[in-house]
Symmetry: C2
Subunit: 130 residues, 2 copies
């Protein structure tokens, strides 16, 4: 056991980059970081856990927002420094701005244009932060 | 001009992470890095350019392999430190191992299982490297 964790090319900080995709639509929802504990808990629980670099703590996706991610598939890339999660996104919202995806801006003629609506306002998602 | 480049949250090294997805199937093909020049050339030429950290040089995807990526869409995430490219992948091969996607290994019961066939052997893709 643990061999699969050793095949991950952890960064100097002990992290691996995680790309998260909707299992049904295949839309890319977000990117985050994982450490050993986060990926282990993800596999064990079936729910996505990440490492927050800004808060320097483990984070279960949806712990505050309810926007939990059930992991359907976990993949590793050729050089082992990125994992890809296919998830079932509860609430259809992955972004802290209340949008489906964090990639809600598209490049158009020299600017980033917001293309996606807010599904639920952030102050309704995170009432404790008001 | 250039304002859109300033909205990217460049790392200390001047890089931004790039996730690359097939524009039709939406499969995630690879991840790479871009600097200002790489993203500018990508937008200008319509073909994906990256920054190779290992070789410390700009790199036009497919320059050696022919596996060029025509960029159909470019997106930026909420905190500006990841871009998402939707591409038309020439040859149907994004990975240097000759597979469609770099994410050819899936987690199954404590190990990473190779799920994808090699479409074209690497020594045929890169004959000069023999």
């Amino acid at each position: 056991m643990g061999g699969w964790l050793d095949q991950v090319a952890w960064s100097a900080e002990g992290l691996v980059s995680a790309v998260v995709q909707d299992a049904v639509t295949r839309r890319v929802l977000m990117c985050a970081w994982m450490n050993r504990e986060a990926i282990s808990l993800t596999v064990k629980s079936g729910e996505a856990h990440y490492w927050s670099r800004s808060r320097q703590r483990l984070w279960r996706k949806g712990e505050e927002s309810g926007h939990v991610q059930r992991v359907k598939e976990l993949r590793l890339d050729c050089d082992g420094d990125v994992v890809l999660l296919s998830v079932e996104q509860r609430g259809g919202i992955a972004c802290h701005t209340g949008r489906e995806s964090c990639f809600f801006r598209r490049y158009e003629n020299g600017r980033w244009v917001v293309t996606d609506p807010v599904v639920k306002p952030a102050d309704e998602i995170y009432p404790k932060r008001r």
